[in-house]
Assembly symmetry: C2
Homo-oligomer: 514 residues x 2
């Protein structure tokens, strides 16, 4: 089946139909391939200090693995010092385990092969946001998110040319029972998008349900040998893995499905208030999870996850888009490259409640360092508001346009003869304009990124069109997109089997909101 | 006299007085000293191609110098091929002239020595915006700027801890006659701020007036041997210098005062539509001006200026904050480092008419690459709206806060033992928080940048405080700052002599609006 990405977005979005009838449908790439190097901000000595510090934390303090005898036994077998739940690791041990078998790069398959993604190396993949219990738009303000919102954002992500993934718990479908939501979430991803998706981690059996549904979609044998589902495991920082997270990690690793091991640190709370300390801790915690995956199933795909932010010194509230975490993303890019595993981090983060200047500035100050770090898996890339508590419809549209711009950044500068344009100077004398030159005519269509949300008109024209803010333009675009959405075809037999599986499993235990 | 920078800004701004009585007055540095390397995005081969292309443009096409026989004679004496107004330069010639005597770094002196700045090397200086005929605030919208606005922005820049310079034509005082505005502008800078300032370039005699006023301030002998005034000369791209700009350039160079030579290029109009071509052209044009300065007065300070942006493919309107110019800033950082002269570029640019999400995103996408490039003179760093046609009061406040964040970015990551915080892990067992540790208590006050405009409160608290946008908070802050402004002391004799000079000169010729 042919990808339909964004086929109607650019053509009709933002009230441009009347003026721009002949703009071609916008196609985005399955994933972003970087042609620029990562920014080597820290020198060898500084990087080594952070790595040695991580090793010292692992050896001197260790990590606690709660409520999971199997995991403690795995560490004992590997030769660790295990006392109670506390496991201590010899210097360099975890890095060696990871280097031996953890893939540097792997493919996550989508049901539409044109949307399969490469995770690792010079590739970047933008995911929508994850986990918000609220949604926001200009019309209704902030309210609890529902399954309808969940579906809406899958549709919008499916249509966006600049999002490479359908995500996971894009928003919490608060109108569904907690212990059965994961069925609808996985099904909705499969049904309403043909991009890659994520599985549940809130209980080991929900992880297993996610895998079983992916097996129906991809076939058991295919899924045994390929990654069809990716999930995120949060470490209970500082230096603790709990039973729920370990259960989900083990379930996915045993099934050869990808796990993003993510220490979640607000500096000053779940880690020290200084950045180099927090970086060391994240590295230590992530290495433990990544090595554990390899001890459970050598070769199973793992991703070095990071989520490190700052706090308000006034209130202790989490802050996002601040300069300290920005420096952190860049350092993580260097640390992950040296460890040789794919990296997750960054995004379009903000503490703002609305899609205003604060939201845009903080998001940009997160996304630009994300690019410089070459982060492979970019969670929270579109929609995030209020420290992730809220998913914004207009924010989503503004963010995806911004992600499009990052595709241009990633290409770097073309220094071919055409790029250097010496011929143009022989065509145009000094003092004359280049507007109609052969070189301009040959290049102008692809020369510049064409923003779908920015207004570049004159003040008078902008005023005549209603003096709209960027958020107001985005409001129109998201509604138009939902209106234009087309369901990607899904094999009817697979669809029936998925629905059947869901119904049987849902009927097998009572609803609960735990 | 003691610097009073921002002494009241942080303490009283944004309605925080009641809650935060003991926050100390915020002091910014005289200029920003980078401790992070520039981002080496282009490799040696790519940089060489751009430099060779610039040389080819200079040799094969050349540059026109209009209405100035003296300049043509200077080029003839230097051995150039001069035909009519067209001057062609042998490969490498301009670079050699620049390398021989153009300073890599120089000091611009402020009347308050604590505010003197270092231009070049690892130093960055943030200037407010330049040249807007309109101002905007939330209360009155957009209107023509007046001398009152000009003074207001000088006061705000004086108080901001994150702006290092008072600027030049911050806004056009449209209520003053065109041919006499420069007197008031230079006087206002000297009177209402004790930071560095810029001179007029709109006519050679206005440049001379600016220098003469600086001589009154600094003393003739001091100014003969030191830089007390800096000015910006726009090249009439492509490949043309006009008589007005050459006249101003010569006037400042002869007086040993700093000139920023700035090719102004919208790609596709004043240069080719491809970035590598535009970069080559800017380098060629700027080298011509920089070398000319050295031929006029060897050792006089010159700055490699750049202003390169993209266009809307729909309307031909200029666009700002787009990814192509962002890549350009980074490349300029590398090219200027190789040329060995200070660089001007970047800023907080946007095409948006209002301080909304578009404005913030585009500004951030300009400012972050500005940091990566290590641009030494950052014009248009605060206030810019509508492609520079408008200076925004709220935008100014949002931008200066953002500039503050960049001071943290520039510091990089502290990997000292205190930064690495290993001791904290011995203090806090796994699973416990770091909120009250000795390490946190010792570091939290300086750990994180403390934004003056971002809201990090809970949704409920934010709502209770009026659900303000970032721009609405900035509106309150700018008014409070103007209310709190204190005139920096100025020697009464110097003040009288400056006023006297102005009056005599103003009386010596009739008003005109040309």
């Amino acid at each position: 089946m042919a990808p339909k990405i964004g086929s109607t977005h650019r053509r009709r979005a933002g009230g441009r139909t009347g003026k721009q009838k002949n703009i071609e449908p916008l196609q985005g790439p399955a994933y972003l391939k970087r042609e620029i190097p990562i920014y080597e901000m820290l020198n060898e000595e500084a990087l080594k200090k952070i790595e040695d510090n991580a090793d010292a934390i692992l050896e001197e303090v260790g990590i606690e693995f709660k409520e999971d005898e199997e995991v403690l036994e795995i560490w004992r077998q590997a030769g660790c010092d295990v006392q109670g739940d506390r496991v201590r690791f010899k210097k360099g041990m975890l890095r060696s385990i990871i280097n031996a078998t953890s893939p540097k790069q792997f493919t996550q398959h989508a049901r539409n092969p044109a949307h399969s993604i490469e995770i690792g190396g010079d590739n970047m993949c933008f995911f929508p946001c994850y986990g918000s219990p609220f949604v926001h738009d200009l019309d209704q303000g902030r309210r609890y998110s529902k399954n309808e919102d969940f579906k809406n954002f899958i549709k919008l992500a499916h249509m966006s040319p600049w999002l490479h993934h359908s995500g996971g718990t894009i928003v919490e479908p608060m109108d569904l029972p907690v212990n059965k939501r994961h069925f609808d979430m996985v099904y909705n991803h499969i049904k309403y998008s043909d991009k890659c998706f994520m599985g549940s981690v809130t209980a080991p059996e929900r992880a297993q349900d996610s895998i079983d549904m992916a097996r129906i979609l991809f076939g058991e044998e295919f899924l045994e040998n390929n990654c069809g589902i990716i999930s995120v495991i949060n470490v209970n920082s500082p230096l603790t893995y709990d039973g729920t997270m370990l259960g989900a990690l083990k379930t996915y690793a045993k099934a050869n499905q990808a796990v993003i091991v993510t220490p979640f640190i607000l500096m000053g709370a779940m880690g020290p208030v200084t950045l180099a300390g927090a970086l060391s801790q994240v590295l230590a915690e992530a290495m433990a999870g990544l090595a554990l995956i390899q001890l459970i199933r050598p070769g199973a795909p793992g991703v070095f996850g990071t989520f490190t932010s700052s706090m308000s010194l006034r209130s202790g509230a989490p802050t996002f888009g601040m300069p300290e975490p920005a420096l952190g993303y860049i350092a993580f890019g260097q640390l992950a490259k040296r460890l040789g595993v794919p990296l997750r981090g960054g995004g379009s983060l903000t503490a703002s409640k609305i899609p205003d200047a604060q939201a845009a500035q903080e998001s940009a100050d997160t996304l630009f360092p994300t690019m410089l770090a070459g982060i492979n898996v970019v969670f929270q890339a579109a929609g995030w508001l209020e420290g992730g508590l809220t998913m914004g419809y207009e924010k989503f549209i503004l963010d995806t346009d911004h992600l499009g711009m990052m595709h241009t950044i990633a290409k770097g500068i073309d220094v071919s003869d055409n790029g250097l344009a010496l011929s143009a100077y022989h065509e145009v004398p000094p003092g004359q304009h280049h507007l109609g030159t052969a070189h301009t005519m040959a290049n102008y269509k692809t020369a510049f990124y064409d923003s779908s949300t920015a207004n570049h008109e004159s003040f008078e024209q902008w005023q005549e069109e209603g003096s709209l803010t960027a958020a107001q333009r985005a409001n129109r675009i998201y509604k138009q997109m939902l209106n234009d959405y087309e369901l990607p075809p899904l094999d009817a037999d697979i669809d029936a089997r998925l629905q059947d599986y869901m119904q049987q499993r849902k009927d097998s235990f009572p609803d609960s909101n735990v």
